[in-house]
Each structure stands twice: as C-alpha cells, then as structure tokens.
Symmetry: C2
C-alpha cells in the first residue's frame, strides 16, 4: 500500500479513484474516515433489502441510502458520484458474477437504489490506537473474508449465509478487541465469533472465500466479525435479476470520521 494514501483526504481519494489512479483495495486509505460497502438494487427490491439490513445490523449496518434515482450520497460524502468513486464494482446477474467494472456508466438506471453499508475498516483504526495489530494492514493485503454457516434473518426475498472478516488477535488482547469494536455498531460492532473456525462452518482458515489469506501466529486467536460482503453472498443465494456491489476490499471512502460512529 502506498503510505501516501493513508494521509490523504476522503475527497482526494475519491478523485484519485474517479481518475483511475487508485484501482485496488482501499484498506487504510484516508485513515480515520469511514469506508462503505455498496449494494445496488432495483427499486422493487428496496424495501425488502432495507428490512433485511435492519434485521441483520451486524452484517449490514446502513450508513446511508441514496434517494432513488440519485447518484450522490450527499449525506456522507460531498461531490461524490456513486457510479465512479469506487475502484472496482461487481455486476451480479441471476446470482452469477458476470463482470467487474471500474465504473457504472454502462449499467446505470434511474430505478436503482444504492445502499451504503458500514465497513470494518472503520474500527481497525480504533484497534490500532489500542496497539492491536491489524494483520492485513501490516501485511499490505486485503482482509480475509469467509462464508459461514450462520444464517442471516430473512426479509422478503433476501436470505442466505453471513460473511465474516477475520483478524488474528493475540490471546491477551481478545477481550480488549471485543470492547473496542463493541463501541462501533454502525461498522459491524462486536465480533460474531472468537476461535475455532469450524464452529461457524469455515473449513480452512488459510483459504478465504474473498480477499487474501493472512498468517495466524503462535498465541493468536482468529476473531471473526460480520462483513459487508454479506450482500454478495446473498445475491449468489437469492439470484435477483441484477445486483451491483463493490468488489471486496474496494470500498467507498466517506467524509464521516470513524469516531463519529462511536456510541459511547
């Protein structure tokens, strides 16, 4: 990761994304500002999906919903365009990932509703401020993500498995990691699971379903948080005509400081 991007403003990052200068994962960029996952659906599915998010707040904490037909998430980012300001998008048709694109100009429709969902990158700053290493940042790669056997709560047509992100935490820091992340329910909050990957249906913790593998050192415990990639697993499960998301790790950088989402 270019260290430079850590210190830049959210608006500078979005401009670099729009210009095609940033094309990869955004972990650690504009440090201190919240990043967001994206899910786009047609208006006919918007109520069901918003209810799905409400019923699964750990996996899908809503940061903002863009007014139907608009492209501007103006409540959380100034001068942004949701069609261009994410490095990589995924197009799902009938549950199949058919294409990855760098903007949505060929796909945009006025009956889209865009959901911006909290991202665990936001609590990583809080972990690091507590001297807890965030492995994928220190390794300079994407966070490892896994499909689990934890079912989401169904709403309308939407149902399927919960996706989690994993961070190895030293045994002595696990309690602190729970405390620190519990303060941030809008960005996935407390862990879903601590320890044995098999208990939540993960066969091999070295082979993530999304993102990159990271080493787990002696004396470290894998800790799992609900992940905003869950809607992509849902898309594969429910198979709506069309669903558009960000590519895992390639997030929308907002103007809202992480600290703003702390509940206490």
């Amino acid at each position: 990761m270019t260290m430079n991007y850590q210190q830049q403003s959210p608006q500078a990052i979005r401009e670099a994304v729009r210009a095609g200068v940033i094309t990869g994962p955004t972990a650690g960029y504009a440090m201190g500002y919240a990043q967001a996952n994206l899910a786009i659906l047609k208006k006919e599915h918007a109520f069901d999906f918003l209810l799905f998010a409400q019923r699964n707040p750990k996996a899908c904490p809503i940061l903002d919903v863009i007014e139907p037909g608009s492209v501007s998430p103006s409540r959380i980012a100034k001068n942004a365009d949701i069609r261009t300001d994410i490095p990589k998008y995924r197009i799902y048709k009938h549950g199949e990932l058919v294409e990855e694109v760098s903007d949505l100009k060929d796909y945009w429709s006025d009956d889209f509703v865009c959901f911006l969902i909290g991202c665990s990158f936001s609590f990583e700053n809080a972990l690091m401020n507590n001297d807890i290493d965030v492995r994928h940042i220190s390794e300079g790669c994407n966070v490892p993500m896994f499909k689990t056997n934890i079912a989401t709560e169904k709403a309308g047509i939407f149902e399927g498995p919960t996706v989690v992100s994993m961070r190895p935490i030293p045994e002595a820091e696990v309690v602190r990691a729970v405390q620190v992340t519990s303060r941030f329910p809008s960005v996935h909050g407390a862990p879903l699971h601590i320890g044995n990957p098999a208990s939540i249906g993960i066969r091999d913790v070295t082979k993530p379903d999304f993102g990159d593998a990271v080493p787990i050192k002696d004396g470290e415990v894998p800790v799992f948080w609900a992940c905003g990639v869950t809607p992509q697993a849902i898309a594969m499960h429910v198979k709506p005509d069309l669903m558009i998301t960000h590519a895992p790790g390639h997030m929308f950088v907002t103007d809202v400081k992480d600290a703003f989402y702390g509940v206490l």
Copy 2:
C-alpha cells in the same frame, strides 16, 4: 397503576389488553420487558418510512417490522395480534386524528405494514436500577411528551418535528443518566437535550403536547429523550391518507427483555 401488572408476564399483559381488562397506559407493566410504539402505513409508503426510521434512529429505532399483510409480530412476541394487543390506537386520516379505538378490526387491510419502534420505558428500568427516580412512574401517570423545533431527517414523503419525552433528573445524576441510557440505542438511547426547554422549542415544560405533566423539583434538570410518538407528529405534518399508531403511553408489550437491547 396496579402494582400487580408490574410483575406479570408480557403474554399475560397482552391477553389482558385483548380482553379489554387493561385499557390505559402501560408504563411499568411487565417490568423488565421492552415495550414498543406502533406505526402502520400502507405498503406504498413502507420503504420511505423504513428509510425515515433508519435516518432518525433516536426517534424511530426499529424493533421489528411485521411482514406485509401479517398481523403477528412473531419475532418479538409469541401468539400476539397487532390488531388487538394495544390498549388504544389512533387513526390519522390526512394528518387529522379522527378516532381512538380499542382494536383495529374495523380498519385492518392486507396492504398494511406495521412498524414496531423502541420505547423509552425500556431504559427506565435501567435508570431505576441505578436509583434514579423516574418521575411519571413514581407519580403513576403517563410520561410528558413535547413537540420540538428539532427537525427530523427527511426520507421520501416523511419529514417533520422530533417529539421528545421528558424526565426530571437531579443535577448530580445527569451524567449517570446519560451513561445508562447510552447503552440502549434500540430504545432511543442517550438524551437529545439536557436543560433549557426553550432551546429546543418547548415554551412551557408544564404543558406537554402528549401525556401528563410531572413536577420538576428544586435541583432537578429536565432531560429530554427522542420519543416514539414522533411518527404521530410526522403524520400530522405529512398528512398521508391513512396512518395508524398507538395512543401515546399505550404500548405494545414484547417478549424481549430490556437487557437484550444493551450494546455493551
């Protein structure tokens, strides 16, 4: 208030409501279990209202949304019927309160969507456990509620003023009251305002817009929390064809323990 109802189960309270035995406010009933505000709208307004709730989580924290057309909030209350299990309902047509009824049998339509919204009664138990007097419970009346000049965040057709509930708190307990209620964002969470009523547009703190006045003693500060009656103020402002709510203070008693909603 009959002390007896404090100790009864949520299901016993709902049965007594359905049988017409309980017809008044439910503050303190089934102590330890969450109570809920109600807002019913036609399906065509359901997405806008759910988004409104998402954007105004202090006033409208969603506990559950009943599947369109169903009458059973089965995720938070067993064997309940939303048409009969609230002591008093209000029917708003074009923004006018046209009738108060004890059940919805004459009004029910299969295209209704029912929203159950967290109620500040739920954090009152936590306040009392901290030896903070909850005045309207010790006085045996309904909580005082006021329209404010704090605008809600608009979503679709929904906009208007925030309604707050007020509890007088001894100066020395105000910090503790903030801490205790911050733990419960699903039931309105931390106060919206502490102190001078005029700062939020309340002219006379002895004349509530809904509920009953309570005495503020020497050395006490009025503390204001966002209130689930806000949708009724919104109904008066937006004037949808039809909106049905509970009557203020006359709540739906759920099977979920207050403690369950604590975030930490």
